[in-house]
């Protein structure tokens, strides 16, 4: 007999506010499934932090858990101190691309550098969705948006690569067309230490697809599948060939001393010497 999975027990009895067909339903579901498959009966061992934007609404207040919904871009500093004062809890940040690598980019780089013991899951819809579809640091080159009506003149940021370069313990990228891989990646990240980052390229039919010229959700998902290139494949490709592609897979996994380990080792040392 197969067990019937229900996410209900992990969620408050509230309705998600996302547009019909939003990729964030899939992301929320992948996270809850990962938690369920790891054997957590509830979310009492977790604290969720998020900023402002559609992705930030995934945990707040919908997860039946402690959630701290911070200002636009500021979830990572808040998550940092929560983890430092409560190292026993698993601190997970949800945020969008504008939140994490737009207005909050400095915190993202610094947290990766410090190897801060948090998992950051970024729903990357490649646009400012909540405000109605303005160009983002993640918008593909030449894409038409509400503030780039003639096509974006900037190239997007490779957030997952940046996290790896800055010192993350784990960095991966998937899309909402890779839900099984995404779920397995979340499971793995939840069991690792240090700064872990998962970028989830997520379909936004309302603010992105409509303006960028996608007819429907199926077309968006199809484009994710067609443009997806594995990390291994990408290594053999030239930069020009990678333009417009989505590199999926694990970009880095490494063991480095974490911020919590370093802070508490210092505290122990200082107190021992003071006696």
């Amino acid at each position: 007999m197969t067990e019937v999975f229900s996410s209900r027990k992990y969620l408050r009895d509230l309705k998600y506010p996302f547009c019909p067909g939003c990729g964030l339903f899939s992301l929320s579901d992948a996270f809850i499934r990962a938690v369920h498959e790891l054997g957590y009966e509830d979310l009492s061992k977790f604290v969720f932090c998020s900023g402002i934007g559609c992705s930030s609404w995934i945990p707040s207040p919908y997860f039946f858990a402690d959630s701290v919904h911070t200002l636009h871009g500021r979830s990572i500093p808040v998550a940092t101190s929560i983890k430092l004062v409560r190292p026993d809890l698993s601190v997970v940040v949800f945020g969008g691309d504008g939140d994490i690598v737009g207005i909050g980019l400095n915190h993202f780089i610094q947290a990766a550098r410090r190897n801060t013991d948090i998992l950051v899951i970024m729903g990357n819809n490649m646009i400012y969705g909540m405000t109605g579809g303005q160009v983002a640091p993640t918008t593909p080159f030449k894409t038409k948006t509400a503030t780039s009506p003639y096509g974006s003149v900037e190239h997007p940021l490779d957030s997952a690569k940046l996290a790896a370069v800055a010192g993350a313990a784990y960095s991966a990228r998937w899309t909402t067309a890779h839900l099984h891989d995404l779920k397995e990646s979340i499971k793995k990240a939840l069991q690792l230490q240090g700064f872990r980052f998962i970028e989830v390229v997520s379909h936004c039919p309302t603010a992105y697809g409509r303006r960028a010229g996608f007819k429907d959700i199926a077309e968006l998902l199809k484009s994710f599948k067609e443009n997806a290139v594995s990390v291994q494949q990408a290594e053999k490709m030239r930069e020009a060939e990678l333009e417009g592609k989505i590199v999926v897979g694990e970009i880095v996994e490494r063991k480095r001393p974490t911020l919590v380990e370093n802070v508490y080792a210092m505290l122990k040392e200082v107190q021992k010497n003071a006696q």
Binding site: P61, D66, V68, L71, I82, V85, R86, Q110
Partner: protein, 377 residues
């Protein structure tokens, strides 16, 4: 208390602030270097680990204020320290703190602005920013010491008020008293009054928007608390369009401070009911009023004063009393006139005379105040 129980130290204002914070139970500090507040971070980085506390130098003031909010929800008493430019950067998150009712202490060691201004020189230009710096409707608490010893006392009080009323509290010092060294007498720790936030009982679910100050859970205590600075109901659930929920919650968050103004407002008053001339002063500037009052008395002019130890909420009752008796009120400030307008609002028909000086960290002298007392406006 016996004399031998009291310990004497020769501290700078910034050092006194750190020692008071450690005494009152601050166990998390996040900050970013900035003149003239840096010594607070430096001393905190040395002192906190010794008592098991955590110090973090963050990447900027945005991260610093965010981190102390997080630490507060993690159950710690938390503080940051900065000066004008950093205080400006922190304003958005201070508003987050008002809306989420997060206890924390922000020390603003004022310097001359605007912009980079004169980073090493004293100013009092942040007093209105402390009241109205963030957007929206809120009632701020700011304390304003005028000596090194008072920095110690009011740092403790800042934490106590933050915990009691579940709100950010600003300790508004300035470059002069922060870098001044004076003798500080510290009572034994057990005689220092310490107030801790009200904790919820098992089964409690309403953690926001009570005029009686709602109990505050920490994360990880099993209360499934949903913290948000979007308009929310008593249970933390967002209502981003409902006019009634917004009115109810924002009014209550304001009222919990306003209705307790008598408890929060502290002044040093003199001759309120028997004076010809009044002075309203605060911070480093107020150190000059005592000599001016003495000299005026020698000339036969009775002067009364209200020294604002609590700057916000404004000491309306004391200033009203002064305005009833005095023919004119002098407001010396190291800015081009900020609190003077608040005095005018409260004093109604009594003549209010500003006395302003900015630049180079030059204090307003007793002679300058005396000239206003005996002279005309």
């Amino acid at each position: 208390m016996k004399r031998r129980d009291v310990k004497a130290y020769f501290w700078s204002g910034n050092e006194a602030c750190v020692e008071a914070a450690i005494n009152v139970g601050c166990r998390f500090f996040a900050g970013y270097p900035i003149t003239p507040a840096t010594e607070i971070a430096e001393n905190m980085s040395a002192r906190l680990p010794l008592v098991g506390g955590i110090f973090m130098q963050m990447e900027d003031e945005l991260a610093s204020i965010g981190a102390i909010m997080g630490a507060s929800w993690g159950g710690k008493k938390a503080m940051t320290a900065t000066s004008g430019p950093g205080f400006s950067l922190m304003q958005e998150t201070i508003g987050w703190g008002f809306m989420t009712e997060t206890p924390c202490v922000i020390v603003d060691v004022q310097r001359a602005g605007p912009g980079t201004g004169q980073a090493t020189k004293c100013g009092q230009g942040d007093v209105m920013q402390a009241r109205w710096g963030t957007h929206g409707d809120y009632t701020a608490i700011s304390l304003c010491p005028n000596s090194v010893h008072e920095i110690f006392d009011l740092t403790i009080r800042a934490f106590n008020l933050a915990e009691k009323y579940r709100t950010p509290v600003t300790l508004l010092t300035d470059e002069i008293i922060a870098h001044l060294r004076e003798q500080v007498f510290i009572p034994p720790p057990e005689s220092i009054e310490i107030i801790n936030r009200k904790k919820p009982k098992a089964g409690d679910q309403a953690f926001f928007g009570s005029e009686e100050v709602a109990p505050m859970p920490s994360v990880g205590e099993g209360f499934n608390v949903a913290v948000t600075a979007s308009t929310h109901d008593e249970y933390g659930v967002r209502f981003t369009a409902d006019p009634l929920v917004h009115r109810r919650m924002v009014e209550k968050i304001n009222n919990k401070i306003k209705k307790n103004a008598d408890d929060i407002v502290e002044t040093e008053s003199y001759n309120l009911d028997d004076c010809k001339v009044g002075i309203v002063a605060y911070g480093a500037t107020s150190r000059a009023i005592y000599e001016a009052v003495e000299e005026a008395a020698k000339k036969g002019v009775k002067v009364g004063y209200v020294r604002l130890k609590t700057l916000w909420p404004f000491a309306e009752k004391a200033v009203q009393r002064l305005a009833k008796t005095a023919d004119k009120i002098i407001v010396p400030e190291m800015n081009l006139g900020q609190v003077v307008n608040e005095v005018k609002r409260v004093a109604c028909t009594t003549e209010v005379i500003p006395l302003n000086k900015i630049g180079g960290g030059e204090l307003i002298t007793p002679e300058e105040i005396l000239a206003k007392i005996v002279g005309g406006s």
